[in-house]
């Protein structure tokens, strides 16, 4: 997380200097004031607290986190909707936080969004054709005939036959088809970055696999970069080059997907991995590896924000905020006692420590194998 900034080049510049990230966020902070009845200030939700990351050209960065971790707020802060409270978002060489009006619009056209609920993000009264055409009209890209041709191309690209689907309304589509329309719309202006916010989370598993494959196909064909946000670690790893794990507005771990999975360094990442239901019966059940729920972002814990649920937390974690440190090439962790090191003396609850292999187990009637908690193992190929 070095402080590379690239300022000054035009937002429409098509060429990025080699090695320059496509998107570079630095110390992004987003806060919301909560008011009580009558308008008195009740507190400040610290939704995103100083997050920095880069997305390179052609790269997919996955962001995982629980509800309330601030991952969607982060995505919106990048889009400047609403603008982050502080920090910079440099996209294709221009700092979006310093642009406004038409210059912001122009800079942002290369960054598109795909949301979770396709039916909520498509106008129910519009035909598929008009939905996909809208960005082309808004940015006045070409005449009517040109737009029409482009819409047909786009629908073809996402696997929908224009002759069959162009005249339909969203209600005449299945969830998977509607999400394809939303993707076609996002592709209309040939963006270089697509931000997917839980884009496949509401789809059935077979349809989800189809849409994930579509994302991969488009990545190859169009050279797209993705910021892929989801709560499902396995799903994120499937599509990502690098994975970032968020907890309560902060990044706790960033690294190549493979090493985050094989050698998680943050206790929270380990807990997420252990929570994935497995189709491997040998270790039939993951015991709840972390207890309780995330604390309120209005009054987050001092020091490390995960310490209140962390089995390895010590006094140091309450006093000092851990800074990101690079433990392996490209693999950063914000933890005083990363899992690559032995558990600290005086940890909060060594018995619940997932790494020592003896999680607290409540009375379970049926024969489960105690001991090593489940890692996100794959289904056994029979």
């Amino acid at each position: 997380m070095t402080g590379r900034h690239a300022m000054g080049s035009s937002p429409n510049g098509d060429k990025l200097p080699a090695g320059e990230p496509l998107l570079s966020a630095r110390d992004v902070v987003q806060e919301f004031v909560v008011r009580e009845r009558g308008g008195t200030k009740a507190g400040v939700v610290q939704a995103v607290s100083g997050i920095s990351f880069d997305v390179m050209q052609g790269e997919t960065l996955g962001v995982v986190g629980e509800t309330g971790s601030g991952k969607s707020t982060l995505a919106r802060a990048i889009l400047q909707a609403p603008r982050p409270k502080s920090g910079s978002v440099v996209f294709r060489g221009a700092d979006l936080t310093k642009l406004s009006g038409s210059r912001l619009l122009q800079a942002r056209r290369h960054m598109q969004f795909v949301f979770q609920d396709p039916f909520g993000s498509l106008d129910p009264k519009w035909q598929v054709r008009s939905i996909v055409e809208e960005p082309l009209v808004a940015y006045r890209t070409s005449n009517r005939a040109g737009r029409r041709k482009r819409v047909d191309e786009l629908l073809d690209l996402v696997g929908l036959d224009p002759a069959r689907y162009a005249k339909r309304h969203p209600r005449e589509l299945s969830g998977g088809q509607a999400q394809r329309v939303a993707i076609a719309r996002a592709l209309a202006l040939s963006p270089s970055l697509i931000i997917c916010d839980e884009a496949v989370s509401s789809l059935d598993v077979l349809i989800q696999a189809q849409v994930l494959n579509l994302f991969e196909k488009l990545r190859g064909e169009l050279g797209l970069s993705y910021l892929f946000i989801a709560h499902d670690l396995a799903l994120v790893k499937q599509v990502s080059d690098r994975v970032a794990v968020m907890y309560l507005g902060k990044l706790c771990e960033v690294g190549p997907g493979e090493s985050v999975y094989r050698e998680p360094l943050h206790p929270y990442t380990r807990a997420l991995l252990d929570s994935i239901p497995s189709t491997e019966p040998g270790a039939r059940r993951a015991s709840a590896t972390i207890k309780g729920e995330p604390p309120s972002p209005i009054n987050p814990p001092s020091g490390c924000r995960f310490r209140t649920r962390c089995p390895r937390a010590t006094d140091k974690c309450a006093l000092e905020e851990p800074m990101p440190k690079e433990m392996a090439p490209g693999h950063l962790v914000a933890c005083h006692f990363p899992l690559s090191e032995p558990a600290p003396v005086g940890a909060a609850s060594a018995s619940a420590d997932t790494t020592t292999g003896a999680p607290i187990r409540s009375v379970l009637a049926r024969g489960t194998t105690p001991g090593a908690p489940v890692r996100g193992r794959p289904p056994e190929p029979p």
Binding site: S278, E280, P281, P379
Partner: protein, 330 residues
């Protein structure tokens, strides 16, 4: 068979849609033993929720329900709403996917749980309130007395689901149906809720039906698994016969479901094995196997005649003319 808690036989549920009959559930048979966990797995529209709602008597009037569902020997299908009320709550209860929408946002949770108790049992208000606090403790809600006086919006999603479970347990049911009860929750919360359900199951000796789209959940928590497609059971077996070493999935639809789950061992950017298309139109089902149009191994006989659900190995039933070979993934 007399020891089964719930016996469902040839259950059929049909809705009239635009003059045509939509067979949402087409002749399913299964049983649940006391203290056991059954997982019913399927995609949206496969009939998994409808079949359980039919058993609970929660479908709209005018739905045609045929077949039999016996709870401890007494027939449920065909009972009037007031007759069914004797069973609901006390013998069987249901927890739904979205706790935010199942709870009344304008009522304190304590009042809602108290109401669930007084509706089904003749107890005084004070006694019911004491029991409600007990229930909140039972579902491991910290500071139960304080939470009793809170509104649903003051609770997190996981806590709300615990409240829903508390209400479902108000009359100590013998059967609890959890309809996608953890789907809307985060993975870490999902594990906590599943553990809670299993602990309560052994404490209260309940049978549990898990309705889900997630085969991983079934593999991790269920004793018996049913896979539904287009209103029919296509595979039915003990979990151990399906997953892991010594287990094998035979029906090709189950195989496809299993393969489509993204998992950590798969290399990034690798293509997921997919089946094309989508579930069939339930008002115009194909003559043959309903999965045949999407199945990579479908042959002429699959299109001509639907395979019946047959017990091919002890306890393991599947409906497929060309099942996956044991240990071989074609």
């Amino acid at each position: 068979m007399s020891q089964s808690l719930l016996e469902v036989e040839d259950l059929r549920v049909g809705f009239a849609v635009g003059g045509r009959e939509l067979r949402a559930v087409d002749g399913i048979t299964f049983s649940v033993n006391p203290g056991n966990t059954l997982a019913i797995i399927g995609e949206s529209g496969s009939g998994k929720t409808v079949s359980c709602r039919a058993i609970m008597g929660l479908l709209p009037a005018g739905t045609s329900i045929n077949g039999s569902a016996r709870l401890r020997g007494s027939e449920l299908i065909g009972l009037s709403d007031s007759e069914l009320r004797r069973y609901r709550g006390s013998d069987m209860a249901m927890v739904f996917q979205d706790p935010a929408r199942s709870l009344n946002p304008t009522m304190k949770i304590g009042v809602q749980i108290t109401e669930a108790i007084t509706t089904h049992r003749k107890v005084g208000k004070a006694e019911a309130q004491t029991q409600a606090v007990e229930l909140l403790r039972l579902v491991r809600i910290p500071a139960a007395e304080r939470r009793f006086h809170e509104y649903p919006h003051q609770l997190s999603g996981g806590m709300r689901q615990r409240v829903m479970i508390a209400m479902a347990l108000a009359c100590r049911p013998k059967l609890l149906i959890a309809d996608e009860a953890t789907t809307a929750l985060d993975v870490t919360t999902q594990v906590q809720i599943m553990e809670l359900l299993l602990e309560l199951q052994s404490e209260l000796e309940m049978a549990l039906i898990l309705i889900s789209h997630d085969l991983g959940l079934a593999a991790s928590y269920a004793d018996e698994v049913i896979v539904m497609y287009a209103g029919k059971i296509v595979e039915q077996a003990p979990a151990a016969a399906l997953f892991g070493r010594g287990g094998s999935v035979r029906m090709r639809y189950t195989r496809a479901l299993l393969d489509a789950i993204p998992h950590m061992e798969r290399a990034a950017h690798s293509a997921l094995p997919v089946v094309g298309g989508r579930p069939p139109d339930m008002t115009a089902l194909p003559v043959g196997c309903s999965f045949a149009p999407r199945c990579g191994s479908a042959a002429d006989d699959c299109l001509a005649k639907a395979p019946a659900l047959t017990e091919h190995a002890p306890g393991h039933k599947w409906a497929c003319w060309h099942p996956c070979e044991n240990g071989v993934h074609p």
